[in-house]
Symmetry: C2
Subunit: 413 residues, 2 copies
Amino acid sequence: MKRTHQKFSVVRGGVTTAKGFLANALYSGIKKSGRKDLALLYSVSPAVASAAFTTNAFVSSSIELTREHLRSKTTRALIVNSGNANCAVGRTGYGDARLMARLAARELGIEPVEVLVASTGVIGKRMPIDSVSKAIPELARGLDRGKGGVFAEAILTTDTRKRESCVRLEIGGKEVTIGGTAKGAGMIYPELKTENHATLLSFITTDADISKGLLDEALEEAIGQSFNMISVDGDMSTNDTVLAFANGLAGNERISGKGSDFENFKAGLDYVMGELARMVVRDGEGATKFIEVKVKGARSMADARRIARKVTTSNLLKTCVHGGDPNWGRIIASAGSSAVAFRPEKVDVYLGGIKVVSAGARFEKAAAKRLKDVFMKKDVAITVDLKSGRGEAIAWTCDLSKEYVNINAEYST
Amino acid sequence: MKRTHQKFSVVRGGVTTAKGFLANALYSGIKKSGRKDLALLYSVSPAVASAAFTTNAFVSSSIELTREHLRSKTTRALIVNSGNANCAVGRTGYGDARLMARLAARELGIEPVEVLVASTGVIGKRMPIDSVSKAIPELARGLDRGKGGVFAEAILTTDTRKRESCVRLEIGGKEVTIGGTAKGAGMIYPELKTENHATLLSFITTDADISKGLLDEALEEAIGQSFNMISVDGDMSTNDTVLAFANGLAGNERISGKGSDFENFKAGLDYVMGELARMVVRDGEGATKFIEVKVKGARSMADARRIARKVTTSNLLKTCVHGGDPNWGRIIASAGSSAVAFRPEKVDVYLGGIKVVSAGARFEKAAAKRLKDVFMKKDVAITVDLKSGRGEAIAWTCDLSKEYVNINAEYST
């Protein structure tokens, strides 16, 4: 247990730390690099599943299938491929996803509808479904509690490192674990919607016993403060998928109403998903710095979120943070372009705690040297205070570097 | 006369080509580089003026003053500084703009309310108003018909070259000239609104005799197809200003109703502003390529515009064009994230005339070699056909290069 936070403890772990979850991953022939590209997650007992998907008009065929399979009351498994988005390939995409689910189900002795499918990678290229199919038996045979980390590695594409987060908490005297992983480094500007809805992929497992309705609600709230508040490049994917599985093996009295148990569970889930979201940004394509934008004093939380997200997509801000140049004019220009109505003459802006704008104008006392120091740090915190209400939100992004251009000028070829 | 287009002729010229317009520019102490930073435009007889400004919540004090002065029935002059945005500097900003107008008016023997002010440059720094003030008499003394080009140079900041466009047409037997200039290379994602509203600056002069109401209408329509359809970096400025002046010296029968004269005038204005807008993109910060995104078959023009603009702000698209990588998946992902509802299974996509997506899926016949050739060209044309209606729009952007990061990592310091 690394540190204590509210009513949960942060522990080392990922998708197989909660009781009853097994995982495996291997190379199935999709990635040119030869790195692992096919992963399987399995719950030894039926789990309820909550989901959130991209709101893009173009959607991966894997998501189409997963949406249908989520109509099943319980879920047992998830098969994920990386290196291919299974998107914009016509009808074969849906058929490929269905085949993956069916073959996994056969190996596991469960129903195909109990298997979900997720994909990430290049758009518009058919998957090498034959070699993927052949790999599934071996994938299923190797399922193991110790392979959460291998699973987390196999879902990566341009990401440079795996991301895991895990907490433990007590519910009704029983120890409950919530663990997860996420991938995503580019095409990161999720706008996920629960029950309808990177390429952000994030998978959360818990052994808590919780009703589907409350898991849905907890997931939606957690997404609103985590994945839906990050941006690497402002580009929304066709494949963004967040899935949470709860298999009840902790043996707690079922969480089926709102109360302190639900609040504790939510706090743990918020922590895990917030950590994963911030890890995605820290490892964003070409990222050398981490930027936190907090907007407070807005008329509503929706206004605060809108402004915070707008500022995190500003290429001009991202480049000046990259260069260590405290050009706060770019912050106010971006905040002002969010289409949220506010009174500019009231606005204060802080860079790393140093006030630079007071009542909408340059704050003369800001020391140029100290500001420059703040902007040279690896983590840059920006606060915009609209002083017009109680709405508050935090969004995260990374700097925009020449390496970002390198990575993306020649990705598909 | 370089070439003939519709009912007008394209001629070499700028803001002083139309009859009765004089200009001058000089260095007044604002720019560290020592390049020209103060410019004056003057009409020898009273002109009607139409304007469009940024919709940013933060607005330059120069725009505040200009809005007030536009209440005057006629306008005689425009004073423009570059190197300082005159924005977020508190009350002194408005006072500085007013002083500039007053001093120019005194030298020209006109009323201060007949002088408009525009600014572009760094946000949050007070102008060196004393040295600017001292320069104004010399500025006014040197006004000349031959200095349209000097004016066009003086309004530049990170731009690498001046931009001018000019047409001649006949209205009621009289020769009418419409000429203009524009600056802007970064912080370019204008959303200009007429009568309310980069740093885009563009100034248009004409000797046509036209009513204020119709000039307003013509300007608004022209902006909708030109400046409001360009993006360099997706960042909206606090200072965007487009101004059009018509002094009536062509001696045509006043255009005061809709008809063929108005249509001809509009066609000329559309051409000049369209050319200027595309020049801004071609010279966008770090630009090595020019990208045109046409969306057709949308349910409405508004839908088409929204999708086209969304695609032009995609960093992923801009980087793959930079690298010559025809990664069209990024186009559909971006189009699909515009929040416009459409049927993805109907969509066709063309790159430089080569079909790559047919009915929402990879078009197998697309030749990789030819595609790569298309993407290696300096001008890249993208068409997205939604096949769901008659709405059509074209937007323009440039590629995203390492040079863009260089330019913007250390701009203010």
